[in-house]
């Protein structure tokens, strides 16, 4: 089920929060109603952690993670690192990496099985990603943009990409990711998908400007309509190419 909300009157909630199948991170300093929305949806199932990264609130764009691990930029302070290690479940490996491109959330788009990265990422970083997150890494662009983490939002059941992505690109990405993909917008025609929404296998949150049409597209591609908050096990991946052509 997709929920609409705002962080301090701003619709770009994907900037201030991060959602995976094992945990949820939110920025500090916002109003309590922001957290209460998350807690009402997620409490009891996965922990909701309030944190900052490198002293900033843009936690969603600085870190990248899935149920296996969390990657943090080198600007993260030691206290924050410790706080996260304490708050998150033990099976989640929290790792701080030395990478020139520090906005890891903009550079890496991942689900539990596969990740797309910025083309200029270091070799070692790629290895660390494969190691910590337990995913297969592909260097890709989306609609000619190298910031793959910003322009696509992935879950294990589907993905939403930049609206100007061509059909050939969609086919290629879908084959790589092994999930159905659709090109669409969020927050009333905004092309920056990952900034406008966060998603995991059973729930999604969008900025309050998102129109009903966009919401219905999101719910259908991520298959949120009739799902329950239960742990999703690995399934047979079928090569499904589903796009509204």
């Amino acid at each position: 089920m997709a929920t609409r909300l705002q962080f301090e009157n701003n619709c770009d909630i994907g900037v201030f929060s991060k959602l995976t199948n094992a945990y949820c991170m939110v920025a500090i300093g916002g109003s309590e109603s922001f957290y209460s929305v998350f807690e009402s949806e997620l409490s009891g199932v996965i922990p909701v952690v309030k944190t900052s990264i490198a002293g900033t609130r843009i936690v969603g764009r600085l870190c990248a993670g899935n149920k296996n691990g969390l990657l943090l930029p080198h600007t993260t302070t030691d206290q924050e690192l410790q706080h996260l290690r304490n708050s998150l479940p033990d099976q989640v490996v929290v790792q701080r990496i030395e990478e020139k491109l520090s906005a890891l959330g903009n550079c890496i788009a991942c689900n539990d099985h596969v990740a797309l990265t910025h083309t200029d990422l270091d070799r070692e970083t790629e290895e660390i990603i494969a190691d910590v997150l337990g995913v297969e890494v592909f260097r890709q662009t989306i609609a000619g943009n190298i910031l793959v983490g910003s322009f696509c939002s992935l879950s294990n059941r589907g993905g939403l990409v930049h609206p100007h992505t061509s059909i050939e690109d969609l086919d290629e990405l879908s084959t790589l990711l092994q999930v159905p993909l659709v090109a669409g917008t969020v927050n009333r025609g905004s092309e920056v998908i990952a900034a406008g929404m966060i998603v995991n296998d059973w729930t999604a949150f969008c900025g309050s400007d998102t129109t009903a049409t966009e919401l219905s597209v999101i719910e259908s591609v991520f298959k949120l309509r009739d799902s329950q908050p239960s742990v999703i096990v690995d399934e047979m991946r079928k090569s499904l190419i589903d796009s509204y052509v």
Partner: protein, 523 residues
């Protein structure tokens, strides 16, 4: 393209379709990711643009006000009116950052006082998407008399500049000629009123520059002396505006074509000491003088003349008819100042003396190329004249007794008396002052003489437009030629303009030389 030239393989990209974020219909992705209809409903780019404007219009002269003070004459539904209307929108559009793409008129009733223009504009919205929209602008036409029309309506006789043209001679030949010249060049087109006065004509203009232009025109065609004055009419002390009436006083020199002059020593010195008795052969903006005894030629331009202003000794009124008894050429044909002359010795007698007594004169004349024994000629009788000229009294040298001027066609003309000519002239619309006494017969006789002059002198016709006389019956043409083979002077047909062709082909058809078979210059 470059990649393909380098041999690289590029995948053909097909653009997919997305759903419009508002209405959900399938569409090609664009910068706003909304279908055009949703975008239009969201954004109105005509917001803040002017939709209703005022045009100030003068009903008398059909012109529109261009602030602050200019009035422009424009036709309804014309390109110029469209440009005029759009100019008013320019500033408003620039502020709103819209670009004008297209504009056209929507027809409205002329008396509805509305002008409707449909305008298409483009504006950038939502970071990159350009939206085009068209809308209607209504211009309300407000009637307001322009300054010049209101001035004319308030006082129709109002003038700002007056040109007083005067020549102190006893005939009006110069003014007839000037009238034709003015008509030909349209110099008096802007005159509000033209009035005929004693010894001259007054022209009234509504603008000082028109009057000035007219004075300059006259200065080019006649030797004149002019001065200008102004008189304060009203004064606005707050805005320091002064309204004046300007008067130009223009005096034409009294020397005319065919006058006999006794030159004062100063003038003779300027001209190279030509004999004191000279004939004036041509008057334009300079005076051409010819010494008949030596065929020497001199020019005096307006300034030089007025510095040594002299009057003519005898004018063409005092021409006397002579009959040529014998003539003998002394020199060969000489071209002087564009005209051919032959110096000749002649024996002449006055027609009034001929047969009655034996008074004859032996004279030298410059008309040797024209005269044969038995011809009639017109000339000045210095022998019998009683002149009141100081220069003549002072002169101690030889003074000829008779100076012949031109050949006389009087006898031959008598046969044609009363028959209309094949050509006619237009005339200026002149008021005649009631106060001066007008001698009708004298005027008519002078005009007739003027017309005869025109017939005889092709160069006089040069600057004048002659029109075909539709009433003229050419059946009598056969009798025109004379027994002795010499035709009386008449104007050849190809010099005439058809009166109704005047306005349009004015410049093209005219400017013809004599009709020696040389056709019109441009058809």
């Amino acid at each position: 393209m470059m990649a393909q030239d380098a041999g690289m393989f590029t995948v053909h990209q097909t653009i997919g379709s997305v759903l419009c974020c508002k209405c959900g219909i399938r569409m090609q992705p664009n910068a706003a990711n909304m279908c055009v209809k949703c975008l239009r409903s969201e954004v109105d780019i005509t917001e803040g643009l002017l939709k209703r404007l005022v045009l100030v219009h003068c009903p008398e002269c059909e012109s529109y006000l261009q602030p602050p003070r200019t009035w422009v004459k424009l036709q309804l539904e014309s390109k110029e009116l469209l440009t005029f209307c759009l100019k008013k929108l320019q500033k408003n559009m620039n502020i709103n950052k819209v670009k004008l793409v297209n504009a056209e008129f929507i027809w409205t009733e002329p008396h509805s006082k509305r002008v409707k223009v449909k305008v298409s504009v483009q504006k950038e919205v939502y970071n990159g998407a350009i939206l085009e929209q068209s809308y209607l602008i209504e211009y309300v036409q407000q009637d307001h008399m322009c300054e010049s029309c209101s001035r004319v309506a308030a006082n129709p006789d109002q003038w700002v500049a007056a040109v007083q043209l005067r020549q102190h001679v006893s005939h009006r030949r110069t003014f007839f000629y000037l009238e034709q010249l003015i008509l030909r060049h349209g110099a008096a087109a802007r005159a509000v009123r033209i009035k005929q006065m004693d010894h001259g004509i007054d022209f009234y203009f509504s603008n000082r520059s028109h009057g000035n232009k007219f004075v300059e025109f006259i200065g080019k065609v006649a030797p004149v002396k002019s001065r200008s004055d102004k008189q304060l009419v009203s004064h606005d002390s707050k805005s320091n505006n002064y309204n004046y009436k300007y008067t130009f006083s223009v005096e034409i020199s009294p020397i005319c074509h065919e006058d006999l002059i006794c030159l004062p020593p100063k003038a003779a010195a300027i001209l190279g000491n030509i004999g004191p008795i000279v004939i004036c052969t041509k008057v334009t903006n300079s005076i051409a003088l010819l010494d008949p005894l030596t065929l020497k030629f001199g020019f005096l331009d307006a300034e030089q003349y007025w510095r040594t202003s002299f009057k003519s000794l005898l004018t063409s009124r005092q021409l006397v008819e002579y009959i040529v008894l014998d003539i003998e050429a002394v020199s060969s044909e000489i071209t002087v100042g564009g005209m051919k002359y032959v110096l000749a010795d002649a024996q002449v007698a006055r027609v009034s003396d001929f047969g009655k007594n034996d008074t004859q004169f032996s004279i030298r004349t410059h008309l040797g190329h024209l005269l044969k024994p038995g011809d009639l000629a017109l000339g000045y009788d210095l022998y019998g004249a009683n002149s009141n000229d100081m220069e003549l009294d002072r002169y101690k040298g030889y003074i000829p007794e008779v100076v012949l001027i031109k050949k006389s066609y009087e006898e031959k003309r008598q046969k044609r008396r009363g028959k209309p000519r094949s050509w006619k002239l237009k005339s200026l619309n002149m008021e005649v002052d009631d106060k001066i006494k007008v001698n009708e017969d004298k005027n008519d006789a002078e005009y007739e003489n003027f017309l005869k002059d025109l017939e005889e002198n092709p160069e006089l016709r040069f600057n004048i437009s002659l029109y075909q006389n539709k009433d003229y019956q050419p059946s009598e043409v056969a009798s025109v030629t004379e027994d002795d083979g010499q035709p009386i002077p008449s104007v050849p047909d190809d010099e005439l303009l058809a009166a109704d062709l005047l306005a349009a082909e004015f410049d093209d058809l005219d400017l013809i030389e004599d009709g020696d078979g040389e056709d019109d210059m441009a058809e």
